[in-house]
Amino acid sequence: MLLSVENLHAQVADEPEKAILKGLNLNVKPGEVHAIMGPNGAGKSTLSSVLAGREDYEVTAGTVSLSGEDLLELSAEERARKGVFLAFQYPVEIPGVSNKLFMQTAVNAIRDEQGLPALDMFDFDTYAQSKIDLLKMPKNLLDRSVNVGFSGGEKKRNDIFQMALLEPKLCILDETDSGLDIDAMKVVANGVNSLRSSDRSFIVVTHYQRLLDYIKPDFVHVLFDGQIIQSGGFELVHELEEKGYDDLIQAHQQQQTQK
C-alpha cells in the first residue's frame, strides 16, 4: 500500500467546532489513480491540505501512512521529500525568483533526501529541458519568475511541470481543473497521463467530471460531510453526471439518522 488513510478526523486549527473530516478512509496502491469528487464544502481541499501537511489544519484522530511510515509526524517539506506532491488549486506567485532557481532548489532538496548528488546548473538545465519536451511546455518556462504574470492555465501547467521534475510517488491534484478552459484542461490531463506509471499514484480532487473523462481514474470516491460515502470505478463518474449528488447524499443522511 502506498497511502493508507484510516478514520481521519481533521478540523481548522484551533477551531474545534469546525470539524471538516469526520472519519475518512482511503487506500491507494502504487500506480492507481483515484478521483475524489463531491459538492462544495465536503472537505475535498481539506483532505489535500492535510495530506500535504498544511499547518492550518489539525488532525484530531486517525492515521495516515505513506509506504508504512507515519505521514502525520512529518513536516510539509519532509513529506515533499518523501514523494508527496500537491498541485495547487491556486498556485502561488513568487516575484523575482526564477522558476529555474526555484525548481533547481526543490529538485536538489529531494535528491539530497534520496542520497543523490545535487544537479549543477548545467545538468539541471538538461534535465529540465527533457521534461519540457515531454510535456510540450513553452521553452521559456524556466526563465520566468515563479507564476508571476502567468494566466490561470499557465500556472496550473507550471505545477504539472514541477510535478514532472520532482517525480513524486503520490501526486495530489487539488481542483487543478477549476477555472480552466478546455484547452488548458487537456494540457493538465495530458501531463497527468504522460506521468502515469506503475510506481506513481494520483489523487485527483475535482467537482467536475470533465477532467476525469480525459484522465480515466481507476477509482472514484464521493466525499460528503467529511466522509467517503460512495466508491466505485470510472462508471460512477457518469452516474453522478446524470443523477447529481442528491440521491447519494439523501441515502447517506438516512443511514446516519438510522444509526
Binding site: A76, E93, L101, F102, T105
Partner: protein, 495 residues
Amino acid sequence: MSETTQYQEINDLLSKNSGYKEGFFTQTVVDTFAKGLNEDVVRAISAKKNEPQWMLDFRLKAFAHWKTLEEPHWAKASYDPIDYQDYSYYSAPECNSCSSDCPTGNKGMSMEMDPEVAKAFSSLGVPVNGEGSAQKANIAVDAIFDSVSVSTTKREELEELGIIFCSFSEAVHDHPELVQQYLGTVVPYHDNYFAALNSAVASDGTFVYIPEGVRSPIDLSTYFRINEAKTGQFERTILIADKNSYVSYLEGCSAPVRDSYQLHAAVVEVIVHENAEVKYSTVQNWYPGDDNCEGGILNFVTKRGICEGAHAKLSWTQAETGSAITWKYPSCILKGDHSIGEFYSVALTNRRQQADTGTKMIHIGKNTRSTIISKGLSAGKSDNTYRGLVRILPSAEGARNFTQCDSMLIGDQCGAHTFPYIEVENASAKMEHEATTSRIGEDQLFYCQQRGISEQDAISMIVNGFCKDVFSELPLEFAQEAEELLAISLEGSVG
C-alpha cells in the same frame, strides 16, 4: 556565481550566526571628551585636530546656526527628543607615539594602530593592514573608529594615479584648497538640523578626489565603527569625481551592543563633474537595539550629490538593515544637461525598528533622467517608510523619471508606508510611478515547502527575489554581504 550557491552560503551563515554578530566591544585606552556640547567643545574638537582657522570658522558658524534650529520630528518615526548634552562629541583610541602635540592628528596613528583596534577591524572582515582576504584585496579601505580615521590602505597605489583617498582630517591639512572649494557646497551647514550639527562637530570621515580622466581601478571603501558608549559619530565625507572620471565607493557600518542610544549624524557630499560617474554603495548594519530597539543607533544622515556637468552620473545604492531609527534620503541634484541620477534601496526593518528613507531627485538640466527603485521589507513590529521627492524645475526640458516602490510585509504587526512627492514645473517631463505592496504569506512559504524547500531557504529565496533589482546594482561582495544581512536580520521573523 550562481544564484543557488549564493544562497547556500547564506544558509551556511544562518546556521552559524544568530543575532547581531558585530556587537562586540573593543577595550582600548581612549581619549574621550566629557559629555556635553557648547562652543568650547566645538573649539576643542577643532584644536584636537589642529585645524586651520577657516575650518574652525565653518564649525562655529554651523554651531551658531544649529542652536537656532529645532529637532525635526516630521519623519514617520517616534523618538523622544535627544538630549544633546548627554553625548560625548569626541572619542579616539589614544595615540601613544604622539600625544596632543602630534602635528597632523591621526596620521601617525595609521602607522601605530592600537592592536586592539586592528583586531576589531580584522574580526569585522575589514582589511586595514592592506592584507585582508583575497576577495577583498582589490579594495582600498579607510577605517574609522569612533571619531577618527585609523587607517587608510592602498594609498600609495592610488597616489600614482593622482587619486586622493584619505581621512577628512588629513584632507583639511594636506588639501585645504580642495576641501575649501567643496565643503558645504552640496549640503550647506544650514541645510537641516542634523547637517548643521554635523558641520559643527564633524569627527572624521573620508575624502576622495578622482582627477580628470582617471577611472579608479579599485573600489574605494570606508568602514565606520562606533565603539565608545554614548558617543556620537559625525563623519563628513566628500567625494569629488572630476571630468571623465569614474569611481565605485562603498561604505559599511557597525557598532557594539549598548543599552543606550548612540547617535550617528553623518553628512556626505558628492560632486560629479562632466562625463564622470560615481557609484556610491552603502551597507548599513548599525546596531538596531535590543528586542524593543532600546539602545540602538539613531541614524540621521544627509547624503546628497550634484551632477555638476553634462552627462554626469550618480548612483546611490543602499542596503539598510540596522539602526533603531533611520532617517536618510540620499539625493541627486541633476544640474548638468543629460545627467543621470539613480537610487536603489533595500530597507529592512524588524522588531521595533523605524526606517524613514528615500531620495530626492532634483532635475535642473535638460534631458536629465532619474531612476528610483525602492524595496522596503518590514517584519516584526517595525515601521518602514519610503519618502521621496521628484522635482522637475522649469529649466529641465525633456526630463524623465521612473519610480518603483515596492513594500513587503512579513507578519501582521508591521507597517509599510509610502510618501512619494512629485512636483513638475515643465510640461515636457515624463514621469512614471509604480508601487506594490505584498506580503510574505503562509501561502508562499507552504508552496515552497510543499516542493521540498526548507522554510529558511524559502524565506531567503522570497526576500532575495524581492530585492533582486537592487542587489544587482551592488558590487559583488557587497551584494553577498547584503543578502547575508537580510537573512540574519530576518531570522525567526516568520512563524
